[in-house]
Subunit: 438 residues, 2 copies
C-alpha cells in the first residue's frame, strides 16, 4: 500500500475532461494522489480528429493522441489505469468500484463522457459507430481506397464525416431521416450546406433504415428509399451521456440525462464533481441547464472541476455550444440559440449574404450570416456558412454573445479590416446593422 | 435656386466617413438636402486597397471605387460636388466657403480626412505619397515590371506596401528610421515580422534620408546608410488630420490635432459634427481621446454623425484601433494598448506561440499571441502574428476587449473548435490561461 501524503482524488474517465481535470488537480495540489480510471486503452485522444483519420489526411491513429500516457504518469505524476471500467460509485463509503479494484476517494470527478445511441435496427455487428480509438481503428481496417460508405444520420458528425470521406475519395451515401441536415441550423443555412454536398455525396432524404445485413463482405441496408449497398456502414445517430453510474449513486441529472453541476462543477453530492460530455452546465443564453458535448467545453469544465476538487477556486460560467465544421472547403458554424430553438424562444432573425473579402480582392467568396436576437436587442445566437474566415467570424460573435452583447455591441465591436481578411463592412457588421434597423 | 423642403446638411469630404454620413443622413431624413463637397475627383474609394492595386492583383484603379458616383447622386439623392475644396467654415453665419461657391448649412459634418506628413527632405516631386486615387494612379504610371521601389517608413503602410510590392515582383528597399517595424508592436512581434520580410525586402535599419534627387529617370536617395537607387520612391511617413479649416473656425481639437467629438460625433460647436480620420473619439481601453484613422472606424463614425445630424439618435461608443495587415501570406494584427504603450500604462504581458490548427491536421502554422492586461485582470490589448485564422482571432479578442473583458472572459468565451480551424486549446485560450496563472 502506498502512503498518501495528501488527499485522494479519483477521476472516472480519461478523455478530454478527465485528463484536464487530473492535470489541473495535480498542479493545484501536488501532494494529492490523482488516479484516472479509463475503460478503454487510450487516454487524452482527439475524437474530433477521427473523421480526418478516416479521410486519410491524418496518417496514423496515434497522431490523435494529444500526449503519450507517460506525459501524465511520469511528468505529471498521475496514476493512469487503462482498461479499467468503473462499475459502481458508493458515495456513502466514498469508494469507486471498478474492474481493476476498489478506489477510495476524498474527492471524485466523474468524466465518463458520452456514448453513441443506436436505434434497434442499427444494432448490428455490421454497423460501426465512431467515438473511441478502437472504433476508429476498426472502421479504418474495413475501408479500401474508393470504398462505398453509408453514413446514417444527418447531424453534425454525419455531415462532417460525409464531407471528409468524400474528399478522401470514398463514395458516400448519407441517409437522413428528414429533409434537413443538422437540426440546429435554420432551414436556409441547412439548405446551403445540402447544396454544397450535392453531387459529391449521395443524400437519401426522408429516409429511415429498416435493417442492415452483411452479405459476403458487403452490407445491405433496407431503407424506406430502397436498398443501399455499402462496404462500410457508420451510424452517426447521436450520443448520450454515460451518467448511469452517477444516477445509480443518487446523483442528480437533467432532462438530457447529463449530470447537473454548479459553477464549480460540483454535483448534487458533496465532494463529487462532474465535467465534460457527461455533465450539463449553464446555457449562457437561456440561463437554464444545457448539454454541450464538445471538446472545448469538456476541456475547460475538466480544468475547473480539477481545480476545485483539489482545493482551488475556479468558476465555469457556462457555454454556448459553439460548433464549427468544415464542409468541402467551406466553413460552417453555429452558436447559442439557433434555428427552431431561436424561433421558439421568441427571437427575431436576419439572414444576410456578403463577401468574405473586399470586393476587389481576389478569392472573395460568399458568407451567409444568420443572426438571432431577442426583441430587446440581446443577441441570442448566430449561424455562418461560407468562405475563408467564416469560422472565426462565428467565434468572434460567440465571444460577444458569451458576454451578453446586444446588436449594437456587434456593430461597434471595432473588428479590424484589411482587404485580404474582409470587406470594410464585414458580414457580421452588416447583419447587426440590418437587425438594428428592424 | 433649389427650394429646400427640409434641413440643409453639408458634408465636407467624400471619403469613407463623408459618404457614410451623407447616406445615413439622407436615409434618416429623406427630405433634407444633403450636399457633399469633395476636393478630389473621386468619392467613396478604398484607400486600403491601393497597395494591392500597385502590387497588380487589383487590375483596375476604378475597382477601388465602392460605388459609382451615380449610386449617391441618382439612387440616394445626394448632391455630390467633386473638385470642390473647402476653404473656410463660418460657424457664425453657418456657411461653408469653397472653390465652387458658398454652401449655407443647418447641420455640418466635417469628414475631411487625413493627409500624408512629409519631412522636408522628402518634400520633392520625385517622392510619391499614397493616399488619394490620383496618387495611386501616378505611382502606378511610373512603375514597370520588376521596378526598384524605395519605401521610406517602417510603419503600418510602409510594411504592408513593402510586402505587397515584393509579392508583385518589384525589388523593394524599405528605409526604416529605427531598428523596428510598426512601433505599436512589441519588440518580439516586430522582430517576427522583420524575419518574415528578410530576404524578400531589403531593409535599411536605423536609416535616415538626407535627400532624394531625380537622375535621368532614376531617383537617388542619399541616406545615413549610403546611396540607394530606385525607379520609384514612396514616402510612408505618417498622416495627420485635415483639421485646419475646423480649428480656424474655433472648433476644438485634441493633442493629435484631430477634432474632439462626443458620443454623438458632435464637435465643440453646436450643429457641427465630425467623423472619420479627421476626428478623435473615445479610446475604449483608456477612456481618453484616441485617434484611429482606420476605415472601419471612419465608416461607423460617419454613420453615427449622419444619423444625428439628420435628427436621428445614434451613439458611437469609441474604438480600439484594431489593425490587420497581410505580410507575405502571414496575418498580423493588433488592437487596444500594445507594445510600449501597454508597458507605460502599467500592463503585464504574456507571449505564447501555439499552433493555428490541431497538431495532427495538415497545414498547421505557428500563431504568436501577445496579450496585454492590467494588474486587475482586465484585457488591455493584443497582438497576433501567424498562420491562417490569426487575423480573425485578433478580431475575436478585439470584440471582447471592446466589452471590457477580463482574462477569464477570454478563457471561457466558448470559441468553437474543429481541427481545420484551431487546436482544442486555442492560442487565445492558452494566452489567457498563462496570464491567469501569473
Amino acid at each position: 500500500m502506498k502512503a498518501y501524503t495528501g488527499m485522494r482524488i479519483v477521476v472516472v474517465g480519461g478523455g478530454a475532461a478527465g485528463m484536464a481535470a487530473a492535470s489541473k488537480a495535480k498542479r493545484v495540489s501536488p501532494h494529492a494522489s490523482v488516479t484516472v480510471l479509463e475503460a478503454g486503452r487510450f487516454v487524452s485522444y482527439a475524437e474530433c480528429g477521427m473523421p480526418y483519420y478516416l479521410q486519410g489526411i491524418v496518417k496514423d491513429l496515434e497522431d490523435l493522441l494529444h500526449y503519450p500516457v507517460t506525459e501524465f504518469t511520469q511528468r505529471r505524476g498521475i496514476d493512469v489505469r487503462t482498461g479499467c471500467r468503473v462499475t459502481e460509485i458508493d458515495t456513502g463509503k466514498q469508494v469507486v468500484k471498478s474492474q481493476c479494484g476498489d478506489f477510495p476517494y476524498d474527492r471524485l470527478i466523474i468524466a465518463s463522457g458520452a456514448s453513441p445511441v443506436l436505434p434497434p435496427e442499427l444494432s448490428s455487428p455490421d454497423v460501426h459507430t465512431l467515438r473511441s480509438m478502437e472504433e476508429a481503428s476498426s472502421i479504418k481496417a474495413s475501408m479500401r481506397p474508393g470504398s462505398e460508405v453509408a453514413i446514417v444520420g444527418g447531424g453534425v458528425l454525419g455531415t462532417e464525416l460525409a464531407s471528409a470521406l468524400s474528399e478522401g475519395g470514398f463514395r458516400v451515401t448519407l441517409v437522413v431521416r428528414k429533409h434537413r441536415l443538422i437540426s440546429a441550423l435554420s432551414e436556409e443555412v441547412s439548405a446551403l450546406v445540402a447544396a454544397e454536398m450535392e453531387g459529391r455525396v449521395k443524400i437519401l432524404w426522408d429516409t429511415t433504415v429498416a435493417s442492415v445485413e452483411g452479405k459476403g463482405g458487403q452490407k445491405l441496408l433496407e431503407t424506406s428509399s430502397g436498398q443501399v449497398r455499402a462496404d462500410v456502414v457508420i451510424a452517426a445517430t447521436g450520443v448520450r451521456p454515460n451518467s448511469r453510474i452517477a444516477s445509480d449513486a443518487g446523483i442528480q441529472t437533467t432532462g438530457s440525462g447529463a449530470i447537473r453541476v454548479d459553477e464549480r462543477c460540483l454535483t448534487s453530492e458533496p465532494g463529487v464533481y462532474a465535467a465534460g460530455d457527461v455533465a450539463a452546465c449553464r446555457d449562457l443564453v437561456t440561463g437554464d441547464y444545457g448539454w454541450f458535448p464538445l471538446a472545448q467545453v469538456s476541456n475547460k469544465m475538466g480544468r475547473v472541476a480539477g481545480a476545485n476538487a483539489a482545493g482551488g477556486e475556479m468558476s465555469f460560467p457556462g457555454a454556448l455550444g459553439t460548433t464549427l465544421i468544415r464542409i468541402f472547403g467551406k466553413e460552417l458554424g453555429f452558436t447559442g440559440l439557433t434555428g427552431q430553438r431561436a424561433r421558439d424562444a421568441g427571437c427575431k432573425s436576419v439572414h444576410i449574404t456578403a463577401g468574405s473579402r473586399a470586393n476587389y480582392y481576389p478569392g472573395r467568396e460568399n458568407v451567409d450570416f444568420v443572426l438571432h436576437y431577442f426583441p430587446d436587442g440581446r443577441v441570442a445566437g448566430a449561424e455562418v456558412f461560407g468562405g475563408p474566415g467564416s469560422a472565426w467570424r462565428l467565434n468572434a460573435v460567440a465571444g460577444l454573445i458569451s458576454r451578453g452583447s446586444r446588436l449594437e455591441d456587434l456593430f461597434f465591436a471595432d473588428f479590424g479590416y484589411s482587404p485580404p481578411f474582409g470587406p470594410v463592412w464585414d458580414p457580421i457588421v452588416i447583419a447587426a446593422s440590418v437587425a438594428m434597423r428592424e
